[in-house]
């Protein structure tokens, strides 16, 4: 933070308006206020932001500050940003209408960022409760030792074990003695309950301690159980983690863990949540996760946004990489950006009303913030995004662009299973099973017979038990997500 300008602290470009400054400040304060802090370090960050806001919110002080600010370093953003719309224009209607917008990000192939790998600052937070006993913990142990051996000199690694309490097994930056670290992992024992907050908190302090803009700072939680009573603390920690640029990802083993909760926590921080149905897949899943982080350009893509009057952002869905719904609140935490590949985010806006004399409609404005860690120095790129459309009297006869149509195939499958889940929670089993049967039909049309069969099996289970089976629900949720992965849908 030392050489940051006040604008950087708030994640704003230098031409930010007064309104934008106020909004950015408010959002950060909500997440970092000392009264609600879990960790001590954030108070300092809070004061940094406070200071920045005091200077920038006063027009006179701002002008003085801008005067003495060194000229903006001339960084050419290596990012390509494209925007696609489902319609070439909005239609003047007396009723609400929908418009889809797709934001596509990728990196210029010839930048030097392409070849280097990103150094990591990660903490592996391992559930060692009784249920992990046996093959689950044994596999995690072997994999952890693998990771220890493969670490690069630049990487910072720590390992936290937890059950009802947390213990720092391998401290960050202490890998000089690899043998004794391996020994400690070998001696891990299972026993006790699952208190996720204890584990996350300790993992968080390790990553936070060595937090730097040169690395990807990330916590990887491995668990097979549910946590009780500390969910709110976990959420709070996730919020702070995200404000500080620390991601949290989770790997859930078996069927007993709480997918809704971990999806929620990881989504808040831009991390991902993976389902590992069989113990046999534990090893690959953990290694994949480490590889994913190492080959990411960044795990921190964020976007502050503001919708305009009579516009509601109803859904945000990340199509690529790693399909997942995102929280439609500002700042949008868009997640990680692969070094080779594309990020695609789908926005569904409801336009409630279009005023009479308008000829152009601004749907939303955003400020895209991307921090790219690098061996020498991390760089922050700030881009302004604007979604706008002309207004016409008649709907256009053009077909939506192919990227939007492809996105819809994925999005509709996601929506249908979300709907089933919604109806289930309302207790409307008829509707829920109908949505699931529709889903099965669409899946079998796509040639996904196994998944369609899982869905139909689940329908039978629901008819019998009036609830999802723990396993089936996760299988469908994560199965449909992985079905949408680019590798399988044949896109780059």
């Amino acid at each position: 933070m030392d050489e940051c300008t006040f604008y950087d602290r708030l994640g704003l470009p230098r031409d930010a308006t007064h309104e934008e400054i106020r909004r950015a400040y408010r959002q950060l304060v909500l997440r970092l206020h000392p009264d609600t802090n879990v960790n001590k370090g954030e108070t300092e960050l809070f004061f940094d932001i406070q200071q920045a806001f005091e200077r920038l919110s006063d027009p006179k002080k701002k002008a003085d500050y801008d005067q003495q600010l060194p000229p903006e370093p001339n960084i050419v953003s290596p990012l390509n940003i494209s925007t696609y719309y489902s319609q070439p224009s909005l239609v003047r209607l007396s009723e609400p209408q929908l418009i889809y917008t797709l934001l596509e990000l990728n990196i210029e192939p010839d930048t030097n960022l392409m070849d280097s790998s990103t150094p990591l600052n990660i903490s592996l937070v391992v559930d060692c409760s009784t249920s992990m006993q046996g093959i689950r913990l044994d596999t995690v142990k072997i994999t952890a030792i693998d990771i220890l051996r493969k670490l690069q000199p630049d990487d910072i690694f720590s390992l936290v074990k937890f059950n009802d309490r947390a213990e720092l097994l391998i401290a960050p930056g202490s890998l000089a003695d690899l043998k004794s670290a391996e020994m400690k992992v070998q001696l891990l024992q299972a026993g006790g309950g699952t208190e996720i907050f204890k584990g996350l908190e300790m993992g968080f302090s390790q990553v936070d301690q060595f937090h730097s803009s040169q690395r990807i700072n990330h916590i990887i939680l491995i668990t097979d159980g549910r946590t009780y009573g500390d969910e709110t603390s976990c959420e709070k920690l996730a919020d702070q983690s995200s404000a500080l640029g620390i991601g949290i990802s989770a790997l859930g083993i078996g069927s007993q863990w709480n997918d809704k909760f971990l999806d929620h926590i990881t989504t808040k921080t831009g991390g991902i949540c993976k389902f590992i149905p069989d113990a046999g897949d534990i090893r690959n899943s953990i290694l994949d996760e480490i590889t994913r982080l190492g080959s990411s350009l960044t795990d921190q893509v964020k976007m502050n946004y503001q919708t305009f009057q009579d516009v509601e952002l109803s859904t945000v869905y990340r199509l690529q990489p790693d399909p997942s719904p995102l929280d439609p609140v500002s700042p949008l935490i868009l997640g990680y950006m692969p070094r080779h590949g594309t990020m695609r985010i789908l926005f569904e806006f409801v336009i409630k009303d279009i005023l009479k004399n308008m000829i152009e409609f601004i749907i939303a404005k955003g400020i895209l913030n991307i921090e790219i860690p690098h061996h020498t120095v991390g760089t922050k790129y700030i881009n302004r995004i604007i979604f706008n459309r002309q207004i016409t009297a008649q709907p256009a006869k053009e077909k939506p662009p192919v990227v939007i149509l492809n996105a819809m195939t994925m999005f509709s499958i996601f929506i249908m299973q979300e709907r089933a889940r919604e109806e289930m929670s309302k207790g409307d089993f008829d509707k829920a099973t109908r949505h699931m049967e529709n889903l099965a039909t669409h899946l079998s049309q796509k040639g996904e017979n196994n998944l369609a069969q899982s869905v139909l099996n689940e329908v039978a289970y629901i008819r019998h038990h009036q609830s999802f089976s723990e396993e089936g629900e996760k299988l469908i949720k994560y199965g449909t997500r992985s079905l949408l992965l680019p590798a399988r849908s044949g896109e780059n």
């Binding site: 239609v91 929908l98 336009i351 006869k397 077909k399 939506p400 819809m408 929506i415 889903l439 039909t441």
Partner: protein, 170 residues
């Protein structure tokens, strides 16, 4: 508001698919001449399906539908549902079509497991091919998959090579 042609669910203008049943609207709601025809037959059909909207008489509410299997001479009556999926059951698959054609040598005729559906809707009955392997023809014209085509009394359609005539009993 726009209505889903498959299930009648209401969606906002601008929606690209039905959030109730997942049917994509883009092929349906746009001007069909913008879809590029693959061959002459497809091209002809686009025209026919457009005209068909005005030509086909509405199916009355109290009419009951039945299917006449041309080769075997069997008649299957459609009762109790608003949409019937047509196909053939197979042992290794959990999907059972509403109208199972397996007993009528459907496999030999090239009927897919979930081949097509007939929807009883106002003002027409609609025939939808599910993207089946051997396709569906209606009065000799090949159907575009997943697009509903109006169908009425006396129309002959074929699932693969299995010919079926729709009968509307008034």
């Amino acid at each position: 508001m726009i209505f889903c042609p498959n299930c009648g669910h209401q969606e906002l203008p601008g929606a690209l698919f039905c959030k109730e049943c997942g049917t994509q609207f883009t092929i349906l709601s746009r001007d069909p001449t913008l879809t590029i025809p693959n061959n002459l037959a497809d091209h002809l059909h686009e025209e026919i399906s457009e005209d068909a909207d005005s030509v086909v008489p509405p199916t009355p509410n109290d009419a009951s539908l039945s299917l006449f299997l041309v080769e075997s001479g069997e008649v299957i009556s459609l009762e109790g549902l608003s949409e019937y999926t047509l196909g053939r059951s197979a042992e290794d698959q959990p999907i059972l079509p509403d109208i199972d054609l397996a007993p009528y040598r459907a496999y030999e005729y090239g009927v897919s497991r979930l081949h097509a559906s007939i929807k009883v809707s106002q003002p027409y009955a609609l025939l939808i091919d599910f993207g089946s392997a051997n396709g569906t023809e209606l009065n000799g014209q090949k159907l575009t998959p997943n697009k509903p085509y109006p169908i009425t009394h006396g129309d002959i359609f074929s699932l693969g090579k299995m010919k079926i005539q729709l009968l509307v009993n008034r």
